[in-house]
């Protein structure tokens, strides 16, 4: 099973990097960019039998800091439990 975990800063948590990207886009002439949030994507290559619950546990324990971040899990191929 392959899974893709997307980790984003929670709404309400200031994202200075996203804000810097927004400014840079504006400076390049891309008007109308009203907000940018930057996150990270973590791809997991998992042995047979791994479940979504396993990935959730990984997110809770290590991959995301739930004080400041939220996460979403996407199973990338068939056979995902």
């Amino acid at each position: 099973m392959k899974a893709r975990v997307q980790v984003m800063l929670k709404n309400g948590v200031l994202d200075p990097q996203g804000e810097a990207i927004r400014h840079a886009l504006g400076a390049l002439g891309f008007d109308g960019v009203e907000g940018v949030r930057q996150g990270k994507v973590i791809e997991l290559d998992l042995a047979e039998g791994a479940t979504n619950q396993d990935v959730t546990d990984m997110c809770e324990k290590l991959l995301a800091n739930t004080v400041i971040e939220s996460y979403t899990i996407e199973a990338l191929d068939e056979g995902a439990a």
Partner: protein, 222 residues
């Protein structure tokens, strides 16, 4: 009085912290992150600054899950003292020993300079050597020192007098100007500024000395 300093791959303030503990009169043991036990009789554990595990994933996240951190948590749960400085503060928030998290500096830049701190409480072994509202000068050196916690947590920290230090001129966007916080039993302190870098006349400032001396006095009478 016996201090242990935890050393992770990428720690770079571990020896400075050991020197500061020793200068205040403590015996110091260095503890490698793969060790599982803290030496017998340790009163305080120092979690030093640096870039543990290269700051991969999030600052302090990998270190917080290393074997030694379970022993640090157990030491804290027994009522032991813990001092986390800079990356050590990040590690302590990642382990859950302290509330909140450290975000990227609001200005996005790494900042290395001496800043003014207000002593926000005298009620801890770490801060009793200062006067309330004393202004002290302590260096900071961080990229991710922007303290964040939700409104309820900030209110609780303030209500319980658990903010140890605040920035006189907020350098990094930290909520409520918070530079350091205490645990609910007041025996765990995490702070972004480096008192161990202001503990000897050769450093150009000695405002950090009082923290280590007060700690030694408390431990000597404990």
């Amino acid at each position: 009085m016996h201090a242990a300093v935890v050393v992770f791959p990428g720690s770079n303030c571990d020896r400075d912290l050991a020197v500061a503990f020793k200068a205040a009169g403590m015996k110091v043991s260095m503890v490698w992150h793969k060790d599982t036990d803290i030496p017998q009789g340790v009163d305080i554990i120092g979690v030093p600054g640096g870039f543990s595990f290269g700051d991969y994933l999030r600052c302090g996240a990998i270190a917080a899950n290393s074997p030694i951190c379970q022993s640090v948590a157990a030491h804290a749960a027994r009522g032991g003292y813990v001092l986390g400085i800079c990356n050590g503060f990040q590690v302590l928030t990642e382990t859950g020993l302290l509330p909140g998290a450290l975000l990227r500096n609001a200005g996005l830049k790494y900042i290395c300079k001496t800043v003014g701190l207000r002593v926000a409480t005298q009620d801890s072994a770490f801060t009793q050597g200062y006067g309330l509202n004393d202004l002290i000068n302590i260096p900071i050196a961080h990229h991710d020192g922007n303290y964040f916690a939700d409104d309820d947590t900030i209110a609780r920290l303030q209500g319980e007098d658990r903010v140890a230090f605040t920035y006189e001129a907020n350098p990094n966007g930290a909520r409520a100007d918070i530079a350091g916080v205490l645990s609910d039993n007041r025996r765990v302190l995490g702070m972004m500024p480096h008192p161990e870098r202001a503990a000897d006349a050769g450093h150009g400032g000695t405002d950090g000395q009082a923290l280590f001396r007060a700690l030694t006095e408390t431990l000597a009478t404990a």
